[in-house]
Symmetry: C2
Subunit: 306 residues, 2 copies
């Protein structure tokens, strides 16, 4: 450094006096970097995603990055548009909970060498970094837990999204049930993801009426569990005496509910931290990126509903 400390101090003082702030836009135009990342989640109103978003933001702020959030509402078209829109905003990287047909957009990002990490779900055929919970194990353990507690007719409530994380959860349930010789396809219900909560409740009312011998139920996502509780209440079933309940993904209402609801809790902190770590790693090394696929264990939080 050929600049004397005195001069440095002088310049800094003037900068401070004039309240000089570098113009981020100009810096971005020149460097091609925006120090921002795009975070595409399913629905920022769902606490699962808002808490995830919060931790991701805190983590990435440590590296001086800003976050653009957006929600797909599981709409493929909207999701593809969001990717394009964030691309146009020149984000330096992506964190995405993809929708079912978003593989084309993800492939485009890979071709463009844009750093990207998928969370919560992924595409089995696509070579791209992702961080997800061990959904199979979570569902298997939860189902086994119900079986060990003496439940025999355990229902499964899934959606019809077809995304791999939901399929794995369903497979975890099915394998546990088959192992105990309790599997019965009739006990599985697939709700239409895009139907209203009222419609979901209706579907479940009908389902439980047709399967009135059910003594346990596993909900594969918190919004299904919440709607399910309302359906079960309408049927006048006693929890856990008549019916034991476990739901995926924790939610404030599950704690407040009486009886409180047992859940398969996702390790949100771990997921967020690992995701940011993988993304930062990709953003630092401009090429020869190694894809990393991370599987984290969930945790069964036992409450009064089982």
């Amino acid at each position: 450094m050929g600049i004397s400390a005195v001069v440095i101090k002088k310049v800094q003082d003037v900068a401070k006096r004039l309240k000089y702030r570098p113009n981020m836009i100009a810096t971005s135009l020149r460097t091609g970097k925006t120090r921002s990342i795009g975070l595409i989640v399913e629905n920022i109103s769902n606490p699962f995603f808002s808490v995830l978003a919060k931790v991701i933001e805190e983590e990435i702020m440590k590296f001086g990055y800003r976050v653009f959030y957006c929600s797909t509402y599981n709409d493929d078209e909207r999701s593809a548009e969001l990717v394009q829109s964030l691309l146009q905003a020149n984000v330096d990287g992506f964190i995405i909970t993809p929708t079912e047909k978003l593989d084309k957009s993800i492939e485009q990002l890979l071709e463009m060498k844009v750093p990207v990490v998928l969370i919560d779900r992924y595409f089995p055929g696509l070579d791209v970094s992702h961080v997800v919970m061990d959904n199979y194990e979570g569902a298997y353990s939860a189902t086994m837990f119900l079986i060990k507690r003496g439940r025999r007719k355990i229902a499964l409530i899934n959606n019809n999204s077809g995304m791999v994380q939901m399929q794995l959860r369903e497979k975890g349930y099915s394998d546990a049930m088959k192992k105990a010789n309790l599997f019965d396809e009739q006990m599985i219900l697939h709700l239409d993801y895009h139907s209203s909560e009222e419609q979901k409740i209706e579907e479940m009312l009908l389902f439980f009426k047709n399967n009135n011998s059910a003594d346990g139920v596993l909900f594969l996502a918190n919004y299904m569990g919440l709607a399910g509780i309302l359906a079960i209440r309408k049927l006048g079933l006693k929890v856990p005496d008549d019916l034991a309940i476990i739901s995926f993904d924790d939610h404030y209402s599950f704690i407040l509910h009486s009886p409180s609801i047992t859940v398969v809790e996702q390790p949100l902190d771990e997921i967020a931290k690992k995701t940011v770590e993988l993304l930062m790693c990709q953003m630092k090394s401009d090429n020869n990126v190694v894809f990393e696929k991370v599987l984290l264990k969930g945790k069964l939080v036992v409450r009064e509903s089982v």
Copy 2:
């Protein structure tokens, strides 16, 4: 237009073929506009704010604007930093739920002629557009409702934030109680905003033990109501027989709770739409901005807890 339709078509075709997308960064640098606004809320994890954010985003997207969300967590220092950070990102306007001492930052924005609209709360001394619910009226009506239902010893649970919207709610309660000759300062509890939920529950347990004749309670925000329900459950009080409950701001858990909780619901849609309208108005007319102060009516949603 001196350009023939044929040439226009040709150029557009080439643009499409080459997948030309204007570089937003360059456009921003040249025009000084980013077509983005900063949305500073208290806590994006609270459904009240996440739903508000969602509607605001949908509204402002119609005008081709993007939203930067951030949460203050009611921290004055963090809030001031967020304003500076968004300023540096050259957002074209601000929508802010201010913290108690954010008036300095707001004044700075006004001096810089940056469009800004406050929501949910405001500064009585500051001439700046805002959109808020009629908090006084909401609390007054809710309290009157409890009184008309025969409740006499109605407790009030507020926080100690000192923000005007909370003071107005408290005043609405006090005036209603005084009018009915039921006012008793002992029935008011101020929780520390920054304490944990457990601490809030502890404070409330103690409070209700000291005021065991209470037959009604008004919670001035949803997170206090949620903690309050847990405290009331620990005390073994029957709702609404022993104690009638009304809380401000709706929440999924209030609907799911058994008995379901009566709330003073804020007109989120209206608030969001009006806010965007005011902001767009300011952003269009570069000068002589007229400040508008909008007061919207809340709605008492009567459920089983009263």
